[in-house]
């Protein structure tokens, strides 16, 4: 096997891929969140921004890259998860957490589920917004703002998002610190803490949007 192949298929190489893709997906979410917060602040700006995005031919490459990251991440995720199961098929009859210096948490033990959720969420989400109803804001600019606001009048969708964003928080709670450790950044308690704070901020920020729109949508 080629040296590259050997690295990418090694258990450590896979974790490096997961970490890199995971962090890049996270970066996308950071920009995505900041952009989306415009919805609450400045509808016109938001529309202008997303217009700028979609009208830029590079978007296709960007979108493809994003998709690739996403696929790479969850494919390796399944491989990693599976190799773990194969290595330890049988669990203990009396199974407890060691506590002490351990980082084991609900978040760390449900990564596959929290992550898996996005396999469901992202397609629905993209379908709902990207390929959702087309409103014209005039001048060939799509009125995404209106779309979002209308969508989030629906309580079940809002609930779904609130839950979804919490799950995102869980995934990042362990994920962010873990990613740096996978990349060999020598463990510091601080690193984990920061990751966890950011995870909460991300989840909170995203949750804000549907909730605010739902309760004071008319004001927007």
């Amino acid at each position: 096997m080629s040296a590259i192949g050997a690295f990418l298929t090694s258990s450590i190489g896979r974790k490096v891929v997961m970490a890199v893709t995971g962090l890049l997906l996270f970066l996308f979410l950071v920009t995505h969140l900041t952009a989306n917060l415009l919805i609450l602040i400045d509808p016109a700006a938001f529309n202008a921004y997303s217009h700028a995005l979609v009208s830029n031919p590079l978007i296709y490459i960007a979108e493809f890259g994003l998709l690739a990251l996403f696929v790479a991440h969850f494919v390796t995720a399944f491989l990693v998860f599976n190799s773990g199961r194969v290595a330890r098929p049988e669990s203990y009859k009396d199974d407890r957490w060691a506590g002490g210096t351990s980082h084991k948490s609900i978040s760390s033990s449900t990564m596959i589920l929290s992550g898996g959720f996005f396999l469901l969420f992202v397609p629905l989400h993209v379908w709902g917004f990207k390929f959702g109803a087309y409103y014209d804001a005039g001048g060939g600019v799509r009125d995404l703002h209106r779309l979002v606001v209308e969508e989030f009048r629906n309580p079940t969708l809002v609930a779904f998002y609130v839950v979804g964003m919490t799950i995102l928080g869980f995934h990042l709670w362990h994920g962010l610190g873990s990613a740096f450790e996978s990349l060999g950044v020598t463990h510091r308690r601080g690193l984990r803490r920061t990751g966890q704070v950011i995870a909460v901020v991300m989840a909170g920020g995203f949750t804000l949007i549907p909730v605010v729109i739902y309760f004071m949508g008319d004001a927007l």
Partner: protein, 255 residues
């Protein structure tokens, strides 16, 4: 001195192929000064007298240094007391009436031999793949010709303290051996003696580690928490660095 009565649920499995199950025992007049293995000794003597098969488990030094003994006690590798091997776990850690479940290390790479005894030879094969400095007897220079900063020597010693018990694997949801391998890699990466074979070593040991069927590391840190020698997960991060660096060198050397 007052003694205790304890309920034990111990994993019994006649041989690798057979399937096992937990068997209940009651241990009476347990002295708090007994070690956990001495408790098993006493129980075994009762079993033998009663014509039953005693519980098989490994032990040798009984002072926490050889790494032979290993069992999951009350859901935690080597039991509830941190930085302690099963042989150094004393019954004063428990209270009268406690129920204690005892199970073997569980990992595909550590097949069960009998009851609580498992086969850890996978660790030896990993070491054989590169866990050493290639120097023949007689070929060495004077020990003081090689100056090593005290801090490096001390950190190398921290890593070298691993006793090869396998608790890290047992405690890891992925049965990952990265703490064990990382400790050895760190020791040699810190020392001048380890430099010439630095890349070769880490690539070979990781490859063997996977061949043996140990899982990946999800950075949960249970291993550090149960390690009797408190080997830090920092060694796993070092392992990832060393392995990635070596792989990159190999990739670009291939060009």
């Amino acid at each position: 001195m007052e003694t205790m009565t304890l309920n034990l649920r111990i994993w019994r499995q006649p041989r690798a192929a057979a399937d096992g199950h937990l068997v209940e025992y009651t241990a009476r007049e347990v002295s708090p000064d007994m070690s956990f293995l001495e408790l098993l000794d006493v129980l075994n003597d009762q079993l033998i007298k009663g014509g039953a098969d005693p519980i098989a488990f490994d032990s040798d030094c009984r002072e926490g240094i050889c790494g032979s003994c290993g069992m999951v006690i009350s859901g935690v590798a080597h039991g509830p007391q941190s930085a302690t091997t099963a042989c150094q776990l004393f019954m004063r850690q428990f209270k009268d009436g406690d129920t204690i479940t005892v199970e073997p290390w569980r990992a595909t790479a550590f097949p069960i031999i009998k009851d609580l005894a498992v086969d850890r030879s996978a660790f030896d094969r990993i070491q054989a793949a590169g866990g050493y400095v290639s120097v023949d007897a007689g070929g060495a220079v004077d020990a003081n010709e090689m100056l090593i900063p005290k801090d490096d020597a001390d950190r190398a010693m921290d890593a070298a303290a691993c006793i090869g018990c396998g608790a890290c694997v047992a405690a890891c949801k992925n049965a990952s051996a990265e703490l064990f391998v990382g400790a050895r890699i760190t020791q040699f990466s810190l020392l001048p003696q380890g430099q010439p074979e630095r890349d070769r070593r880490v690539l070979a040991m990781v490859e063997q580690m996977e061949k043996e069927g140990f899982g990946p590391c999800s950075n949960e840190g249970e291993c550090e928490a149960v390690c009797p020698k408190e080997i830090s997960v920092a060694h796993i991060q070092t392992l990832h660095r060393e392995f990635s660096r070596a792989s990159m060198r190999r990739i670009f050397a291939a060009r």
